[in-house]
């Protein structure tokens, strides 16, 4: 689904992956959130309705995302004019899509913006304990159940295309990770930022105080979400060659 703000740059695109634990969520649940980011950035958003688990187990979702990325390139959109963005499981896809594109020898996009990313299929983060009383939704049990559905029988929880904390990120485009301080998944963001930094990637990690999982859903209603989206847009605009 395209989200096309009026008067935006037609040749700049955010390629968007929805969240929902690879099992739920859709382009409809996330269309307004990504439209806010696109509008603030001044470009279009392509929101991908990738196949969900258990009907479409790993690596199905990442392959669907790569197909859409390649489709954009085939439409004549330059890779340097594309940025990825994804929330929760989609936050992982905002990384693994680039890994898979690199494997296939495709040119890489200009930037990526994982929001509250769920990355660690082994759920090893200490914040599952330290933020347990603050996070209202995500628990280790939920993560392990959804991870099992996503990976399918015999799935490898350390496969870099499912768990990019085991990936080689050398040569990756700039990355802006934005997450809530009250999340049990907070350590996923910290680990990704550390991995990216140690790989020489230009990475920004923003931890927004007192915020829940994918608080950016509150765009257009809560000032914290609107301000966060303005910061994402300000960061990505020059990456896409927008003034």
């Amino acid at each position: 689904m395209w989200a096309a703000p009026k008067y935006c740059a037609q040749d700049r695109v955010l390629l968007c992956a929805h969240g929902g634990g690879y099992v739920a969520g859709s382009m409809y649940t996330h269309r307004k959130t990504y439209a806010h980011v696109a509008k603030a950035t001044g470009c279009r958003a392509l929101i991908v309705h990738y196949g969900r688990a258990p009907e479409n187990v790993h690596p199905g979702p990442v392959n669907d995302m790569v197909r859409s990325y390649k489709w954009l390139l085939d439409q004549g959109i330059r890779p340097g004019h594309i940025a990825l963005i994804g929330a929760s499981a989609g936050g992982a896809l905002a990384v693994t899509t680039i890994l898979r594109a690199r494997e296939l020898g495709l040119p890489l996009p200009a930037a990526t913006m994982p929001l509250s990313p769920w990355l660690d299929m082994e759920a090893t983060g200490e914040t599952f304990e330290t933020n347990a009383a603050k996070d209202l939704l995500v628990t280790r049990d939920i993560i392990q159940v959804m991870g099992g559905m996503f990976l399918g029988e015999g799935g490898n929880r350390q496969d870099p295309l499912a768990n990019p904390l085991h990936a080689d990120l050398k040569g990756f485009p700039p990355m802006y990770i934005q997450t809530g301080a009250d999340e049990t998944l907070l350590d996923d963001s910290r680990k990704l930022a550390d991995l990216a930094r140690n790989s020489g990637v230009d990475v920004t990690l923003e931890i927004v105080p007192e915020m829940q999982h994918v608080f950016q859903f509150l765009a257009g209603t809560a000032p914290e979400a609107d301000a966060a989206i303005r910061r994402l847009a300000a960061w990505v605009r020059p990456k896409l060659g927008l003034g």
């Binding site: 689904m1 989200a3 959130t33 806010h36 696109a38 509008k39 392509l46 209202l136 257009g220 914290e224």
Partner: protein, 56 residues
């Protein structure tokens, strides 16, 4: 301190957790239907056209 408006997301998540606790074997279709409520808390940005397309 978080703004009052963030309570909408908190309430949604508490509603989901309560529903899952009451029905731990929730069918997949029902779970997906529940998650579709995510979009309700987002304001419509205005001035944006949505066009469904086949993108690969």
């Amino acid at each position: 301190m978080a703004s009052k408006r963030t309570e909408e997301l908190n309430a949604l998540y508490l509603e989901w957790v309560a529903a899952l606790k009451a029905n731990p074997e929730m069918p997949l279709d029902e779970l997906r239907h529940m998650f579709e409520k995510w979009e309700r808390i987002t304001g419509e940005p205005g001035g944006v056209d949505y066009i469904e397309t086949n993108a690969g």
